[in-house]
């Protein structure tokens, strides 16, 4: 298992070069990356310097692009020699498609961190970009047992986030600049956003020239739980320290952190600069609440061919109004199932009338029918055929 990390300076590269398992560095140009700060010359310079230190420079192109934005970007990229980079990391499927057409020899690392939580999707991406795809970057919402399975079954190597901020929200709109005083706004704004309804958790919010991003207040951290993934053959583990960066450095203490991953990951987590968690690593139960959210109707299974009408309303002690769902003869019905699931017999004395007040012997589809009051029957009750 190899590590990689984002870099922004020669000092970062020097620190990375001291780590035996760190084979790759991620370069984020202003033009292409969500949090990119590097100019084009800086990105190329750092790529060259990375290679001199035995590190693979990977270009990060992780923004999503509308047609107009993408055309502007690929026009600029015509003047870049992308082959100076060992690989290119993309999130927008359109960017991956463009690379496959224009740079078929350049390995693609595809970010599939949102959605893509099933094997069919992941194998689908492998097939769509067959021949170009070097790696899939998987979601932190996939639990460990599934990550292990995917690492073993997928035909391309996989990467997951080992430590770093969890991205919650990505918008192309400028949402913070208007609210932050001008002297603090240098094209990269960071604030804490707290909502009372969210328990006043201070969620880091960042605005760059590519849009606005919201992160979880706790860092993702699985550096103390790597054994299973390593055995399964996970190829790469990303160490994202950008939020601790200062003065152009994006990988502070990366050398010490990498060393401690092997020697004492528990203490590393304990002393981490922010609270650290791994929310879905052991299990993802985000749909377990759905059955409670859904309609509590206990009688929906009665909505079949034997259900001929639905009660719409009524007046207690006076009458009930229902709508016919499918044609029936009055003689065919003798029970109502009420919303609690209880079945109530229709008294033989009950008469059925149409809106004009005329007694009827059968109901036609969508017809409104009125009966005498039947105790316990409420709106939503269903009339059943014998």
């Amino acid at each position: 298992m190899l590590f990689n990390t984002f870099v922004g300076s020669l000092e970062d590269l020097d620190r990375c070069a001291r780590v035996a398992n760190l084979g790759e560095v991620l370069l984020e140009p202003f033009l292409l990356a969500r949090q990119g700060k590097l100019t084009e010359p800086e990105a190329f310079f750092l790529a060259e310097e990375a290679k001199k230190r035995g590190l693979r420079p990977v270009l990060v192109w992780d923004i999503l692009m509308t047609e107009g934005v993408m055309m502007q970007i690929v026009d600029r990229l015509c003047y870049w020699d992308l082959l100076n980079f060992a690989a290119i990391r993309v999130c927008d499927p359109g960017a991956a498609e463009w690379l496959m057409v224009h740079y078929p020899q350049l390995p693609i690392q595809l970010i599939v961190e949102t959605g893509n939580h099933n094997f069919e999707a992941l194998i689908g991406w492998c097939q769509l970009f067959a021949g170009c795809l070097e790696r899939l970057i998987l979601s932190t919402e996939i639990p460990e047992n599934k990550l292990i399975e995917y690492c073993q079954k997928l035909p391309v190597p996989c990467e997951v986030l080992g430590v770093g901020r969890i991205l919650l929200f990505y918008s192309p709109r400028s949402l913070l600049a208007e609210h932050i005083s001008e002297e603090n706004n240098q094209g990269f704004i960071e604030v804490k956003a707290m909502a009372e309804e969210n328990g006043d958790r201070p969620l880091p919010a960042v605005e760059t020239h590519q849009g606005t991003f919201l992160f979880l207040d706790k860092d993702w951290f699985i550096l103390d739980q790597l054994e299973g993934l390593e055995k399964a053959g996970l190829h790469s583990l990303r160490l994202d320290l950008r939020h601790f960066g200062k003065n152009g450095n994006l990988a502070p203490d990366i050398d010490q952190i990498c060393e401690q991953i092997f020697t004492d990951p528990v203490t590393l987590k304990k002393n981490w600069q922010t609270e650290a968690r791994s929310p879905f690593f052991k299990a993802n139960r985000t749909t377990s609440i759905f059955s409670r959210m859904k309609s509590k109707s206990k009688i929906s299974h009665y909505r079949n061919d034997s259900c001929v009408a639905e009660v719409l309303g009524g007046e207690s002690g006076k009458y009930i109004v229902f709508q016919v769902l499918r044609p029936f003869d009055i003689s065919e019905i003798n029970q109502v199932v009420i919303p609690t699931g209880e079945k109530v017999d229709i008294p033989e004395t009950v008469t059925f009338k149409n809106l004009q007040g005329d007694p009827i012997k059968k109901g036609d589809r969508d017809q409104i029918i009125i009966t005498d009051w039947i105790k316990k029957v409420t709106p939503g009750s269903l009339i059943l055929r014998n």
């Binding site: 999503l64 692009m65 509308t66 047609e67 107009g68 927008d92 499927p93 359109g94 498609e97 463009w98 949102t114 959605g115 893509n116 939580h117 099933n118 094997f119 069919e120 999707a121 689908g124 919402e141 969890i166 991205l167 919650l168 929200f169 990505y170 918008s171 192309p172 709109r173 400028s174 949402l175 932050i180 604030v191 956003a193 707290m194 909502a195 969210n198 606005t212 979880l216 993802n284 985000t286 749909t287 609440i289 959210m293 859904k294 079949n304 719409l312 007046e315 207690s316 009458y319 109004v321 709508q323 809106l355 004009q356 007040g357 017809q367 409104i368 316990k376 029957v377 409420t378 709106p379």
Partner: protein
């Protein structure tokens, strides 16, 4: 003249019927699983069958949303469900997840529309998805109409032998502030998967950005309306114009369908005048909504796209009163969502003509008792006077803005 399809949301069978009655060419709806509206009523197979039958009888289409991003364990009965949808003759399914698409293609011949949740934003992404075999692209809401036109034109230039690319765009409704499918606030803060139907709309909350400032709804988007861009959709041959809102009321569905139906038809006949546009816009203002804006339909949404009101929606200019259940020669039976009293001024909203203003002078129960008022959720009859001759089943009513608040509704209960 060619016209784009008007596509409306259907939370349930009633909404489906209302949408089609008020002019939708197609509806989209969710089954009981695999969609993004876990709290909606959603259609059982039996209801879906009724809905498809009704729609096809009226010449309308039905698309079923299967746009959740699924985990492996969600697939256990998925293939069977796809085959059921095919048997029920649904016209297409709306899908975000590549894995879901692959299973659909393997087990059915259902047409696939790529959901906006997949954030297809550019021509190369379109090329990828059509290479995979999707039949229609529902573009991300960040794409402008001219950009959509470029995507379509590019496809035609590269594939002269193929049919033109079907592109669907949103024309009306609530907007995600994030790129669709790229928001997981609910997942990590509430343990509910926003991409499997559990979004808790944290983006609508007020957030405090500094200790001194008051909380602001900095992530809450205004609502989209594309009423002033109808001609652009025609110009760029956007094949389907979609109204958002599977959780919204029948009133919303009826008013939006009627408004955009009028605009589309008038434009196709060269009759969409500024005066008519103003009238249609007023109808759209009548339903509950956040402040409207044109999203990114013309240029990328920027300053002024945030809805700054912290509490709920703006109130529209009118309140929804109820829906006509049935009519006879003498009476119109109405299911109410608000109380109604003798003396109230109401408007019957007809699908193809101006609303009929009517002051209620007599009210009857469904068994013919004359009454003075009826409570919210009750069923009531009014005389079918000649002025109301055109009123029919599924037509909606709204209260005239001047309605006096009822303080003492007739005391009734809905059951035992």
């Amino acid at each position: 003249m060619w016209k784009p399809e008007l596509l409306a949301p259907a939370k349930n069978l009633e909404r489906l019927q209302v949408a089609i009655t008020y002019g939708a060419d197609a509806v989209y709806l969710g089954g009981q699983n695999y969609g993004l509206r876990a709290r909606a009523d959603n259609f059982s197979p039996e209801e879906l069958q009724r809905g498809v039958t009704f729609a096809h009888q009226q010449g309308a289409k039905v698309y079923v949303t299967l746009n959740a991003f699924l985990h492996d364990e969600d697939f256990s009965e998925f293939g069977d469900y796809c085959q059921l949808l095919e048997q029920l003759n649904v016209d297409a399914v709306i899908v975000s997840d590549l894995g879901v698409m692959r299973v659909i293609k393997n087990c059915s011949n259902l047409k696939i529309h790529l959901s906006t949740q997949a954030s297809c934003l550019n021509g190369y992404a379109a090329r990828l998805w059509t290479r995979f075999g999707v039949d229609r692209l529902i573009l991300g809401r960040e794409v402008s109409i001219p950009e959509a036109g470029q995507i379509r034109a590019k496809f035609s230039a590269e594939n002269p032998q193929k049919a033109p690319l079907e592109i669907e765009m949103f024309i009306h409704g609530a907007m995600c502030m994030a790129y669709s499918g790229h928001c997981t606030i609910s997942n990590y803060t509430a343990g509910r998967d926003s991409n499997r139907g559990g979004c808790i709309q944290s983006c609508r909350l007020p957030y405090q950005l500094s200790s001194e400032a008051s909380p602001i709804t900095f992530m809450s988007s205004k609502d989209l309306w594309g009423i002033y861009q109808v001609g652009d959709f025609f110009k760029h041959h956007i094949c389907s114009l979609k109204i958002e809102g599977r959780m919204k009321s029948s009133f919303y569905v009826a008013m939006t369908c009627k408004a955009y139906r009028r605009a589309i038809d008038a434009y196709s006949q060269g009759e969409l005048t500024p005066e008519l546009l103003q009238e249609i816009a007023a109808d759209l203002q009548s339903i509950p909504h956040r402040d409207y804006f044109s999203g990114s339909l013309e240029t990328a949404a920027g300053d002024g796209s945030v809805f700054e009101q912290a509490a709920g929606n703006n109130t529209g200019t009118h309140d929804y009163l109820g829906m006509v259940l049935d009519t006879t020669e003498e009476a119109i039976a109405i299911k109410l969502v608000e109380p109604l009293s003798v003396g109230d001024k109401v408007e019957f909203i007809l699908p193809h003509s101006q609303p009929i203003n009517y002051q209620v002078n007599r009210l009857f129960s469904v068994v013919g008792e004359e009454i003075n008022c009826m409570r919210k959720d009750g069923i009531v009859c009014i005389p079918k006077v000649p002025k109301l001759a055109q009123v029919n089943q599924l037509h909606l009513l709204r209260l005239s803005p001047s309605k006096v608040e009822i303080t003492a509704p007739y005391s009734m209960v809905t059951g035992s």
